[in-house]
């Protein structure tokens, strides 16, 4: 299955409580892993994880998470490589009137290359954003948790 006809896999994930639009998710995966990659959905514990590969070569895994901003959930994607390093974070749906700057590339790129064991503290390793304090803290915490979960699942062999 390539990214274009990946609708079933994407739809599975879209059934989660706060799911992103399938097209948005597919576009995000294409941006992070490159176009034309194959996407399969794996179910680990109660979560859905996307396994991304191309020509039988594993590119990495991705998962969608939700964190509460000031009032509304922020839906985000965390993508990791086969080496458990974070490839990128993407904000899939931002619903609040303020704080949407967490979707900007110059803020998100701070997460690239991080591992689950790395410290991710706002104001230290991760710079804050003026006017988006709540969203910055929420997304950072969400990324930390999802990165830890993906790493743990991968290391125990649940993702392969």
């Amino acid at each position: 299955m390539t990214l274009a006809p990946a609708a079933p896999a994407v739809l599975c994930l879209a059934l989660a409580a706060q799911a992103p639009p399938p097209a948005r998710l597919a576009a995000s995966l294409a941006r992070v892993f490159g176009p034309g990659a194959r996407v399969d959905t794996l179910h680990v514990d109660t979560a859905a994880v996307l396994r991304v590969s191309r020509n039988d070569s594993l590119l990495g895994f991705a998962a969608v998470g939700n964190v509460l901003g000031k009032d509304q959930p922020i839906t985000f994607l965390v993508a990791v490589g086969p080496d458990d390093r974070l490839k990128d974070v993407d904000i899939l749906v931002y619903r609040e009137p303020y704080g949407g700057e967490v979707a900007y590339e110059s803020w998100r790129r701070q997460f690239r290359g991080k591992r689950a064991a790395d410290s991710l503290r706002v104001g230290r390793e991760i710079r804050g954003i003026s006017g988006a304090t709540i969203s910055v803290h929420a997304v950072t915490l969400g990324v930390q948790r999802l990165l830890a979960a993906l790493t743990a699942w991968h290391q125990r062999g649940a993702l392969r």
Binding site: P97, G100, E101, S106, W107, R127, I129, G131
Partner: protein
């Protein structure tokens, strides 16, 4: 009609409204000082953003169109209510000359329109409109404190 003709219970209400509004307005100025240092370069950075590599502190991005709309409508409507209350208070003052009353009542509404027009012009046209925003907001704040003082003097005086 002046404050002398107003029933005691309404005068008490007015005193509390003035006190709470002064605390609230002052708090909002402290917030603006915290975010912009109350200077045009700080205001420009807040609304137009700064390059991420220009500093090591919190990043500042340009305000989005939706944020600009939210800031504008919430402030315009809520501040209009504040100045309706202080304007009514000034209109009832016996010791303020009529000409001054009219100016004090009208000035904040004009300043509100100028300030928020300057904010949009600064964001999308030219950063130097931050100076107009600073000047207009300063005059508006000064008028608010003068209004509050005049009303308070009328309510607690003999």
């Amino acid at each position: 009609m002046t404050w002398r003709d107003v029933p005691p219970a309404l005068r008490t209400l007015a005193r509390w409204v003035v006190a709470v509004q002064v605390v609230g307005y002052t708090t909002s100025l402290v917030f603006v000082w915290h975010t912009t240092r109350l200077v045009p370069p700080g205001i420009e950075a807040r609304y137009r953003g700064t390059p991420p590599e220009a500093s090591t502190g919190a990043m500042q991005f340009p305000k989005s169109f939706a944020e600009m709309l939210t800031v504008t409508h919430t402030h315009l409507l809520s501040m209009a209510v504040i100045f309706v209350l202080t304007g009514l208070g000034v209109a009832l003052c016996a010791r303020v000359p009529e000409r001054w009353k009219r100016w004090l009542v009208a000035e904040p509404f004009g300043a509100l329109l100028v300030s928020f027009s300057a904010m949009w012009l600064m964001r999308y046209a030219d950063a130097r409109f931050s100076w107009l925003l600073e000047a207009s907001s300063t005059v508006m704040a000064a008028t608010f404190y003068v209004q509050s003082y005049l009303i308070w003097r009328e309510l607690v005086g003999p």
